[in-house]
Symmetry: C2
Subunit: 347 residues, 2 copies
Amino acid sequence: MTSSETQPDFDVQLRNAIDSKTKPLGSLGRIEELAFSLGTIYRNLTPRITNPRMLVFAGNHGITESGVSAFPSEVTAQMVLNFISGGAAINVLCRTFGIDLEIVNAGVEFDFPSHSDLVDEPIAASTKNFHLEPAMTAEQVQSAITLGRRRVQAAVDGGSNFILLGEMGIGNTSSAAAITARVTQTSIGVCTGRGTGLTDESLAHKTQVLAEALARHESAVSPLDVLATFGGFEIAAMVGAILQSKELGIPVMVDGYITTSAALIAAGIDATSREVMVFSHRSQEPGHLIALQHLHAYELLNLDLRLGEGSGAALAFPLAKAATEILCDMATFDAAQVSGAIDSAHE
Amino acid sequence: MTSSETQPDFDVQLRNAIDSKTKPLGSLGRIEELAFSLGTIYRNLTPRITNPRMLVFAGNHGITESGVSAFPSEVTAQMVLNFISGGAAINVLCRTFGIDLEIVNAGVEFDFPSHSDLVDEPIAASTKNFHLEPAMTAEQVQSAITLGRRRVQAAVDGGSNFILLGEMGIGNTSSAAAITARVTQTSIGVCTGRGTGLTDESLAHKTQVLAEALARHESAVSPLDVLATFGGFEIAAMVGAILQSKELGIPVMVDGYITTSAALIAAGIDATSREVMVFSHRSQEPGHLIALQHLHAYELLNLDLRLGEGSGAALAFPLAKAATEILCDMATFDAAQVSGAIDSAHE
């Protein structure tokens, strides 16, 4: 995308490369679209994914004080410990699919043991309760964005050309819901879901808390203000990770509702960052579809996931791998001497 | 499933094993359901998939004489050559995901070079044109079923405990449509699609040919008669492969419309064979959904694929791998010392 003059030519070449493969035109459906997207991001007709890296950002949320989650806030730190001991879903999925995993403490107060997979650089102990006041200061947001940018840069410096994003933060579906409601101008009732498993009563309470928070912070409208007011350290870090992926021209696999709320903010800051986003799945959280539609995004998987941690991004990774391998290794009709379609076959 | 007395206990144990993992209850959605299915098939709380094998059966179809396909019938043999030279989509996908690939010529007239990946045991040069007469004799059907059973047995003897099915046969969406229409008692118009890429006019012609064939063979109703009348050598071989997988108690990943038509026949012959079937994707062919619904099957992927070759089964394989690895390797709440959900979290 360096020159508007060369772009049409490359797109045509890439489309021709896909169409010349030994298969009926379009018969690999969304895998062909994915191959086209990835080829476009890499500006390469035969791209190979190397050292894919999952970055899981963790942060604590002050909004949990207002009783919006089914799990206590301590679970964020407990799950970070579970990540570094290798027992969580995201560990299993990354091992299964050959994805490097890095855990980044972006804002959890806990004395974590040092570990090669853990980057322990919390911006603060927790965000503030955005039911009452903005979650983060403008300076904290910038620090978290910089943290995310640095983790992508470190991954790429280490030989990675494919980033996957995940998160852990008890209470962060509340941030995702508030961000989605404000950015897409949708009613908070439609954007709020059960998170880790709320009852009907608790869901009504969560919606009420978020409605009050949105009313209180009516003036937060710009992407950075929305992020500071309703976001979290892990969400701001993911915004930075997306912006850096765009700067480096590599794909970033977006996970579920919370990661997509970071994508909404990133696209608000730099609309061209949308070009490097690949959307892995549609979660059970009802607001996720609203966020995806706002980004004109169509997910690869629809498996009723609502775990987070990057689990949906990891599960969709093999499809990205397949799409690039098809670009690299599949034969053309000419090379394989296979006949093309005949005109109107019946006699 | 060997004893009706032990089964409830095992199911409860398996459900508890899944629910004790460090994740909110049900938050891995359809991956949890898949883990439950695979654990049940293997009768094992910690099953591992070993040496997964893709069996791609190829066969020629006499119905192509009636002009039902956009590609000439010679393409079946040309694609078998492409498979053994490693250039087709299914080759790329199997290499990407660590799946062994075996090509079985079940009924293609061609002097193939001998090759370690090719089992060259055609039942005949082609099926007959079922527009005019039954596609196969009862003896041919039995031979093809036996061929499919033997290839699964050989895979398992070689250390595989997971079978994936694919097919190649120009004209075989016509077989799938006729089988689906007859077995599910659905109008042929709803079951007929564009296959490899028919025009509107050719699609109308294909539907007309199939309607005439169904009317001509009104008495073909039993599963074996339906198979012999409208099927193909590759479809009958896949029926055998499914029945043998059931006998050996291992999962069989079903691909698209044609493979699912074999699943319809297998379930008709032995209803318990449904228990070992895993459904990979829903294809663009409209009749595929009808066949899936008849089998009470819900697909893992929906990527608008319509290639065949086992491509959808291969693309869904990583999800099966993930599901079994989660059963084997993910920590429990107790082991990881992670707190469970709190009651009605708000204050």
